[in-house]
């Protein structure tokens, strides 16, 4: 399920909403009758999936923000999992 290009543009899936919750000190993903509390890296990735930035840009943003390299495989693996669960969908 890694069949998407680095130029693909992920956005939060229909029916899901991402927001920062101060009371939980975390990003959460809200959906019909459920909520996922995201860990730090999941929150950083999803909050950049805005339907504008491509996956390669998101990787570059994260590498810049956290002064790291080689994040692409982790980001792609997370995006694949999030697509599978409907948290994300791809815009072309």
């Amino acid at each position: 399920m890694n069949e998407f290009a680095d130029s693909a543009v992920p956005a939060i899936g229909r029916g899901f909403r991402l927001q920062w919750e101060a009371a939980q000190n975390a990003h959460v993903l809200l959906y019909p009758e459920g909520m996922v509390k995201l860990n730090g890296s999941a929150g950083e990735i999803l909050s950049r999936c805005d339907g504008v930035r491509a996956i390669e840009q998101i990787v570059a943003d994260l590498e810049g923000a956290f002064n790291q390299t080689g994040l692409a495989p982790d980001v792609r693996a997370f995006v694949a999992m999030a697509l599978e669960r409907g948290w994300l969908e791809l815009r072309s």
Binding site: R14, G15, A23, Q24, L30, P32, E33, K37
Partner: protein
């Protein structure tokens, strides 16, 4: 008794805006004496509750009832909820959802509409035979989709419709549902009164799960199907409401704040009312919410059980309904000395033929009066979430 633990915020808020409802479901979890509840909160009260709960950290919001669309201020309440940052779900039968109202909800920022199939025999028969209710649902479903909402269908399952599961799933797919919740009736309140007619046999249940799995394979990601089993066939109780007073707060039409939909039935407890308590006081300081928090209140076999933190002894209302003491183990647990009550009900369900021997009691103001007057034992009952399949079943998905 040890001091109850200090809980986190009430993440999940359910507002039962009204008990009024155009339907008369035999499995409704509303109190069986609901007809006596007439003093509903005003719009301003609901909005204050929303603000106060949001300040504590509440974020998932259900607008329910009764039929919430009976309230003309449902859009106004949804709009305020959106401004405050809630993810808001309108739980409706669809009766009363017009094009102009759905437009108003959309511009108010409502996130999601859950369309429920509720009336067990009349409506289900209509539904299964494509008659007038089916047309209503089809129209409402199309409207929901046209406005870009995810299509969430909830269907309460019981003895009288469980054998029609294939048709129900097929119809849900025809309506374009993206989520289908097949929620087996939970036996509280009206459903408890009607339990012998509603509880499916084990064989029916096994077959229903098999069919559901076949459909899951066939439909894949197009439609996600949740199947909520009735806990009478389990040997360990559910972690009811994700743990008493840990996650959920329900506010009833008259402003009573409860740890679950039906806790009001429990004897010896008093629950706060949001007319005189803030949500903070109700959640953190009231006796009602603190009573069954944590494990300090437990008796044996729960008190020394190594699974006590896992299910918190199950459901307090079920313990009261089946063992007559809300501080006992939920009799669904096979360690409970009252487990035989559950086994006996299940055994009766296995033996009973499809023929219904006593008439079902349809939920309605008239019947509610009769129950209050003649059956004091069931006057206070009520509990959980057959209706939405809801918080009880969803709690399991909360930490997904």
């Amino acid at each position: 008794m040890t001091t109850p633990p200090i809980p986190g915020p009430p993440l999940w808020l359910l507002l039962e805006l009204t008990y009024r409802c155009p339907l008369h479901c035999v499995f409704c979890y509303n109190p069986v004496d609901f007809a006596s509840v007439e003093d509903e909160l005003e719009t301003a009260d609901w909005i204050r509750v929303l603000r106060e709960a949001r300040e504590l950290g509440a974020v998932q919001l259900g607008l329910s009832g009764g039929e919430p669309l009976v309230r003309e201020d449902a859009e106004e309440i949804a709009a305020e909820a959106h401004r405050l940052g809630y993810y808001t779900n309108l739980i409706t039968s669809g009766v009363g959802l017009t094009e102009s109202r759905i437009r108003a909800f959309k511009s108010a920022g409502l996130d999601h509409i859950q369309l429920s199939f509720q009336d067990s025999t009349r409506e289900m028969n209509d539904f299964l035979s494509h008659t007038k209710t089916f047309e209503l649902k089809q129209r409402v479903a199309a409207m929901i989709k046209a406005h870009g909402y995810p299509m969430v269908l909830n269907c309460v399952i019981h003895r009288m419709n469980i054998d029609h599961l294939d048709t129900i799933i097929e119809m849900a797919d025809t309506l374009g549902a993206e989520y289908l919740e097949l929620a087996n009736t939970q036996y509280y309140s009206w459903a408890h009164v009607n339990r012998d007619q509603l509880l499916p046999s084990r064989a029916q249940l096994v077959e229903a799960e098999r069919k559901t799995n076949v459909w899951r394979e066939k439909l894949g990601k197009r439609m996600r199907i949740f199947f909520v089993v009735p806990d009478y066939y389990e040997t360990r109780p559910k972690k009811c409401m994700n743990g008493w007073g840990t996650t959920f707060m329900t506010v009833t039409p008259d402003g009573t704040a409860l740890p679950c939909h039906t806790a009001k039935m429990l004897p010896g407890l008093s629950f706060p009312n949001v007319r005189s308590s803030s949500v903070r006081e109700a959640w953190f300081e009231s006796d009602g919410f603190n009573r069954f928090r944590g494990t300090g209140w437990m008796k044996e076999p729960c008190a020394s059980c190594d699974e006590r933190e896992k299910d918190f002894g199950g459901c307090r209302c079920q313990a009261y309904l089946l063992a007559n003491d809300p501080a006992l183990a939920d009799p669904v647990c096979d360690k409970s000395p009252h487990h035989h009550v559950v086994l006996e009900a299940a055994a009766r369900a296995d033996k009973t033929t499809r023929v219904v021997e006593k008439p079902l009691v349809f939920r309605g103001p008239k019947e509610s009066g009769a129950l209050s007057a003649t059956k004091p034992l069931v006057q206070q009952p009520a509990r959980s979430s057959a209706r939405t399949g809801g918080p009880c079943s969803s709690a399991r998905r909360l930490s997904a």
